[in-house]
């Protein structure tokens, strides 16, 4: 079967008729349930990487009986190789605020927060006045919803939703036990919808352009388009909005420099696809999901070094509370070094693969659980590079 061809799309950054409050008014003309129905029928799934159905998340939060609910925009974009949220907040920030407002209206929240990655504080110069005037305009519309910006402190783990709440509450940014999930017990223990920056913009756009133009893009499991952050060995590094479901081969044809050895899809916590599999894999939730990070490696790159970098990153950025992640990341790193230096036999890699399986099933949060993705895909596909 031939893979889907690459198609560039322009929804996120499209600014035609960009009057934010027209979209808000359009949303307010619908009932909360009608909005949620639209989002559900669009098939939109979270663009942060995990891909939870957005409308369902909103429905769960709406169903909770609580005076206080929150909408949080997760702008703690920390996955290595991802930089699309920065661009969205820089270029079309109003659309993010509108998305939050629509969500607030749909679930009955009065307060919203943008959890902004510490390294993105330079955006505050423009964001602060924008949010302020946006809030005032909401008041004029008679809407009881206020947005605030919360600046993170620079830990990767705080992009994990429950660690993010802890961080906002002034505590150490450590993931919580789940269940309960955020829609029941989120920020300050209240029902909370937390969505990625890009997801919220798609919500804005679905209300503005309707479900169909969105839905006709992508595949059954991966509706719509997605913003990709493309980096590495390419002459076209940058941010592109592409239809979901595209084949990796098509992607490489467009963005590779002719010598692509592997594509790391989804950042350090994502999967590595080697050249031999380019035509077998597609980019989407039924194939290889991604929060947008696409790193292209050509044949001059050592995949051992790539993996070692990732593992150093994880050993540093694990919060350290749970055993599989805290110790497992150190073991994987030390283990591949030992094999490389001949201190352990190459068969030790099998032991490490089993360990990464344990981390996948036993870690407390997505960080430890997803180390397995890059570890196993790189070790299995570039086995010889790990040894020699």
């Amino acid at each position: 079967m031939k893979n889907k061809e690459l198609k560039k799309v322009d929804i996120i950054f499209d600014c035609a008729n960009c009057e934010p409050f027209e979209v808000v008014k359009k949303a307010l003309a619908l009932s909360p349930d009608e909005i949620i129905d639209q989002i559900i029928s669009s098939g939109l799934r979270g663009r942060g990487g995990a891909g939870f159905p957005t409308g369902l998340k909103w429905r769960l939060a709406k169903a909770e009986q609580s005076e206080t609910k929150y909408v949080i925009c997760n702008a703690d974009e920390g996955e290595p190789g991802t930089f699309k949220d920065r661009e969205i907040l820089d270029v079309v920030p109003s659309k993010v605020l509108v998305g939050m407002t629509i969500c607030a209206y749909a679930i009955g929240a009065k307060e919203g927060f943008i959890y902004l990655r510490n390294e993105y504080n330079f955006l505050l110069k423009d964001l602060n006045p924008l949010v302020e005037s946006f809030n005032q305009n909401l008041k004029k519309l008679g809407m009881d919803f206020t947005i605030k910006i919360f600046s993170g402190s620079g830990a990767y783990i705080c992009g994990e939703e429950s660690a993010l709440f802890e961080s906002m509450e002034g505590k150490r940014g450590e993931p919580r036990n789940k269940p309960p999930y955020p829609t029941k017990f989120g920020y300050n223990g209240k029902p909370t919808v937390i969505n990625n920056v890009e997801t919220l913009v798609y919500c804005t756009m679905i209300v503005r352009i309707g479900v169909e133009p969105f839905k006709k893009l992508g595949t059954t499991d991966s509706r719509g388009s997605k913003v990709f952050s493309i980096s590495g060995d390419t002459t076209k590094a940058g941010i592109y909005e592409l239809e979901l479901g595209v084949g990796v081969d098509e992607f490489v044809k467009e963005f590779g420099n002719g010598d692509t050895k592997a594509v790391q899809i989804g950042g350090a916590s994502g999967h590595c696809v080697p050249r031999k599999d380019f035509n077998k894999r597609i980019i989407g939730f039924e194939g290889i999901p991604t929060g947008g990070s696409m790193m292209i490696f050509n044949s001059s790159r050592s995949m051992y070094n790539v993996l070692k970098d990732y593992l150093e990153f994880f050993a540093e950025e694990s919060c350290g509370q749970c055993t599989p992640c805290r110790v497992g990341t150190q073991q994987l790193l030390k283990g591949i070094e030992a094999v490389k230096h001949g201190e352990k036999p190459s068969s030790y890699l099998n032991q490490l693969l089993k360990l990464s399986e344990t981390m996948k099933v036993a870690s407390k949060c997505g960080l430890g659980q997803s180390v397995h993705n890059s570890f196993s895909s790189i070790v299995k596909n570039f086995h010889e590079e790990m040894i020699y």
Binding site: I157, E317, S318, G320, Q321, T329, K354, V361, K364
Partner: protein, 594 residues
């Protein structure tokens, strides 16, 4: 409360909503191993040792942290589960200092047990133990060895939830995550009360008490030295746990016999000085009441608060330094005992106090710090030369090669070996209050407290804060100013409850006249020097043993202790007299809050 039905290893079980998979497993006698879990503390779910398979789930669930849900199908012993657990324990071992042979907690270590249970091969993974970890021995009371830490955070949760002190906290992340103090200060500079509750809940040897038993053995072996040991009330109801007895067994007679066999020159009872504390503190309370009610003296503070618990004393010195006037000026029974050992006892026995080594056997870690407070030497000699825990005594008995169970019961030596039931109950929360009321009420009215069998039940039990009101009627002429007064008392244990009580005192809204505070949950029976493990059930059984011991005493009121009567006649002359002030009372100091 709705009922949840699920199956665990093919057995149907029902639990109430909110209970965890671990709770449900216990109900059907399925043992799931745990490490970070502790019954006294909130759920952490961070060690992951307790993972189980939940049918339909992609990942394993930490059974301690996952609520049971209707229709769940749980498997606790599949290859996937066993593999994960074995890996997790192996990972913990790989970052652990595995020199078990030289570890104080060897044979009483939860990691060691798990490692044995899962037959961990030390070569499964490379060692990621940090090199050059320095053991923190800066504190008189607690030793911290990070090379043995499993990062379960029980200590952090203990310090925060039970004690509200937050001396211990998590710092760093990932591979550098560790348990530390504010600004990585050494323990003696941190705001730590030395209560040792962290030690009681540490699953490994990362947190232990500072050990001084080798010094004590030295002294015992030294012909020239006269070693006097006194044993705190709660030691006798807990020591047995280390020596093969079930929880809650009273081993007073065997303990005394063992100490004598160890070569201690004189085995005496802290209960004696507990009785003495009641006389001094009871009189102090009555004097304070008189000064406030009759003399209208505004300098004198009420409520008066007990000062027997050195963890509590350091807590108030740090956290409420402007309210030290509320503390009774009485030294703790340990320190009173030491001061008298070097004076009254030395005089009576004709021994040079310089040759006396006074050793206190305490349920406590903070007592070590207290013994080393610089001001505790008003006789010209250190009141206490060494403070040991119940655990250290247990070790010494084993080291001495004694078959504890076979020992014939023996009685305390004299002098300072007699006691009453009032002294005994100091060991449980509410005990000091009860003992004080038994005496104070009688001093004021000439009659016994109006409670059946002298048992003042309202101040007993494990509730965090207890209070009671006692109407004083039929006063003796000297105390007529108290006629008809309602004496309001409160009892708090665990420093989180002490803080609640103190917030009222600081705000000037405290309704009480007299408050007993013990730093540790349950009082001394739950002290930081008691046998490990601890939980509410264990503390309750030890407390029952304490009250049982009280009921078996001939004398149950401090002022009836013949040796107390004697010491006032021969030496102290009167409560709060000149000698008392010199030897039995103390001062406090303001300490830093941060």
């Amino acid at each position: 409360m709705s009922i949840i039905n699920l199956t665990i290893d093919n057995k149907a079980v029902s639990v109430t909503q909110g209970q965890t998979i671990l709770d449900a497993a216990k109900k059907v006698n399925v043992h799931i191993p745990t490490l970070c879990h502790h019954e006294d503390l909130c759920v952490a779910g961070n060690c992951r040792v307790c993972v189980v398979e939940v049918e339909g789930n992609r990942t394993l669930a930490a059974s301690c942290a996952t609520p049971a849900e209707e229709g769940m199908v749980i498997k606790t012993n599949t290859p996937k589960v066993r593999n994960a657990r074995k890996d997790i324990v192996a990972l913990l071992v790989s970052e652990h200092n595995t020199q078990c042979t030289t570890c104080y907690r060897s044979m009483n270590c939860e990691l060691q047990e798990l490692s044995a249970e899962y037959n961990i091969d030390n070569n499964r993974y490379l060692s990621v133990l940090k090199p050059n970890i320095q053991i923190d021995r800066s504190s008189w009371s607690i030793e911290k060895d990070d090379s043995k830490c499993v990062r379960c955070q029980r200590c952090v949760r203990t310090c925060a939830e039970l004690q509200h002190v937050n001396a211990l906290t998590v710092t760093g992340k990932g591979k550098d995550m560790k348990i530390s103090t504010f600004m990585d200060l050494p323990l003696n500079e941190a705001i730590c009360t030395n209560c040792g509750q962290c030690v009681n809940r540490c699953p490994t040897g990362a947190l232990t008490e500072r050990r001084y038993f080798d010094r004590v053995w030295e002294a015992i072996g030294n012909e020239k030295k006269h070693v006097v040991m006194n044993t705190a009330p709660s030691v006798r109801v807990a020591l047995g746990e280390m020596l093969g007895y079930p929880v809650g067994t009273r081993v007073t007679g065997k303990m005394v016999a063992a100490m004598k066999r160890m070569g201690v020159d004189s085995v005496l009872d802290t209960d004696f000085s507990a009785d003495l504390t009641i006389i001094e503190e009871g009189n102090e309370l009555l004097q304070r009441l008189k000064k406030v009610l009759v003399d209208k003296n505004t300098e004198v503070k009420l409520p008066m608060i007990t000062s027997c618990s050195p963890g509590w004393v350091k807590f108030i010195e740090h956290i409420f330094p402007d309210h030290l006037g509320h503390l009774s000026t009485c030294k703790s029974p340990q320190q009173m005992f030491g001061a008298l050992a070097k004076t009254y006892y030395a005089e009576k026995k004709g021994i040079d106090p310089a040759d006396i080594v006074s050793v206190a056997i305490m349920p406590c870690a903070a007592k070590k710090f207290e013994a080393n407070r610089p001001e505790m030497n008003s006789s010209g000699y250190r009141d206490i030369d060494a403070g040991l825990t119940t655990r250290e005594l247990g070790h010494m008995i084993k080291q001495a090669g004694l078959n504890f169970k076979e020992l014939e019961d023996e009685s305390y030596d004299s002098i300072m070996g007699d006691s009453t039931g009032a002294g005994v109950i100091f060991g449980a929360t509410g005990g000091v209050m009860e003992a004080a009321l038994r005496t104070a009420y009688e001093v004021v009215t000439g009659r016994e407290v109006p409670f059946e069998n002298l048992n003042i039940l309202p101040v007993r039990g494990m509730e965090g804060i207890k209070d009671a009101t006692i109407k004083i009627e039929g006063c003796l002429p000297e105390w007529s100013f108290l006629e008809g007064a309602e004496l309001k008392v409160a009892v708090a244990h665990g420093l989180i409850n002490a803080r609640k009580i103190m917030d009222q005192v600081a705000a000037g809204t405290s309704p009480y006249h007299f408050i007993e505070v013990m730093a540790c949950p349950g009082g001394c029976i739950g002290g930081g020097g008691q046998p490990i493990p601890t939980n509410e059930e264990i503390r309750r059984k030890r407390a029952e043993a304490i009250y049982d011991e009280d009921m078996h005493m001939k004398l149950r009121k401090s002022h009836e202790n013949p040796e107390i009567i004697q010491i006032y006649k021969d030496f102290l002359i009167e409560p709060l007299g000149h000698k008392s002030h010199q030897l039995l009372h103390t001062t406090y100091k303001k300490r830093n809050h941060y």
